[in-house]
């Protein structure tokens, strides 16, 4: 990881469904250079796992990308690649999407946090479920 070669300002990449990607593009993270290389990937049900995996790896290896946002449902598909990614930069974040409701149990960061805190994730979720049921 050649930190010195990284440009001072890095991009935020996003891999997700069309709505999510559009939303973040509206916020200004999108970029497409004359060669057609972009920092986002719109996925639908036809997008192959292979394509997602390749694009993810490509984003990881690009020195100008600092953060990669992945919607949770897609993150589940390339769970292996995400777990293998151990470097500090680029950081991979799982985000909820319109279709996939945010599931705390499946978020890799949350799991790590709970493991480090020594708390039980399943217990916490169960407790939350019963709480919302009561109210």
């Amino acid at each position: 990881m050649d930190e010195k070669k990284r440009p001072k300002a890095g991009l935020v990449a996003v891999i997700g469904d069309e709505d999510t990607v559009t939303g973040f593009l509206l916020a200004g993270i999108g970029q497409r250079d004359p060669r057609g290389q972009s920092n986002f990937l719109v996925c639908d049900q036809n997008t192959t796992r292979q394509k997602i995996s390749t694009t993810f790896r490509e984003f990881v290896s690009r020195l100008d990308i600092s953060i990669i946002l992945v919607t949770q449902d897609i993150a589940l598909e390339i769970r292996k690649e995400i777990d293998e990614h151990n470097e500090v930069i680029p950081t991979v974040l799982e985000i909820p999407s319109k279709s996939a409701k945010y599931d705390k149990a499946k978020d890799s960061i949350v799991r790590r946090v709970y493991r480090l805190l020594g708390k039980d994730l399943e217990e916490e979720i169960h407790r939350e479920k019963t709480q919302t049921q009561k109210s």
Binding site: L11, E18, T20, A27, G30, S66, I67
Partner: protein, 258 residues
């Protein structure tokens, strides 16, 4: 772990002093590292709670943004494709990484490059513009939180690794280095005691031998005197000498030296 491991040293007073100095240094290092490990740990706890809080917020904000997006599409029609196609050559929103120092560990922090500016340049979305702007604002808020989240995550990973390394060193000192030095000190002290005892008994032996020799020399001298006295016919000397030969205590000063 196998039994008494010690450092290979020659047992002497000098090495004993050296070992004691080493023990002191190691203990100091251990205390410092332990402090560092504790500091990192408490920071880690704080970050963990922050992460959970921000994640919750992101979840909510994203949901809101999604709703506004749907609304905007209702008003402005399907503009997704338009937005995607009109992606600029260079992104308006970039992040830069700053290095901060936490408990002696260098951690990166992400910040919006160029400050907090909501730049707006959209192409051809005139109808339903207000809704689109609201939608954009919502996603921008989510983005800001996500940048914070990314910072927290990198801090978490970096500190976690640093904690593991520091803890390993603490344990290494505690379970390997310090016991080894203490065993060496004990070994040197034992050896020194042993050598002292040997020295003591050796000296005692030498003293005994010397005393024996002195007693023999004494006897020889008295025998000589007896002989010369007998030759000279001095009875006084004879009696004194014979008394001496019997082993009685007598003072040489008793005899008149003629």
């Amino acid at each position: 772990m196998s039994g008494k491991k010690i450092l290979k040293v020659m047992p002497s007073r000098m090495t004993l002093q050296q070992m004691k100095a080493k023990a002191k240094g190691a203990k100091k290092g251990y205390d410092l590292l332990k402090k560092k490990a504790d500091a990192i740990k408490s920071f880690l706890q704080r970050i963990l709670r922050k992460i959970l809080a921000v994640k919750e917020r992101v979840g909510r904000l994203t949901q809101q943004a999604g709703v506004l997006h749907t609304k905007a599409i209702c008003f402005a029609g399907e503009f997704n494709n338009q937005v995607i196609q009109s992606t600029p050559n260079e992104a308006a929103f970039k992040v830069s990484a700053r290095e901060a120092n936490v408990a002696g560990v260098k951690i990166p922090i992400f910040e919006r490059h160029g400050g907090d500016v909501e730049s707006v340049q959209l192409v051809g979305l005139s109808a339903g513009g207000a809704q689109v702007t609201q939608c954009r604002k919502a996603y921008y808020a989510v983005l800001k939180d996500l940048v914070d989240l990314a910072s927290l995550k990198t801090q978490l990973v970096t500190l976690d690794d640093a904690f593991k390394v520091t803890n390993r060193r603490v344990n290494a000192l505690d379970y390997v280095v310090l016991p080894r030095i203490h065993n060496t000190i004990k070994y040197i002290q034992d050896e020194l005691d042993e050598m002292e005892r040997e020295e003591f008994s050796r000296l005692k032996k030498v003293k005994d031998v010397l005393e024996e020799k002195a007693a023999e020399a004494d006897k020889a001298l008295k025998a000589e005197m007896l002989k010369s006295a007998a030759a000279a016919g001095n009875s006084a000397v004879q009696s004194a000498a014979s008394a001496g030969a019997k082993g009685d205590d007598f003072d040489l000063g008793d005899i008149d030296i003629m």
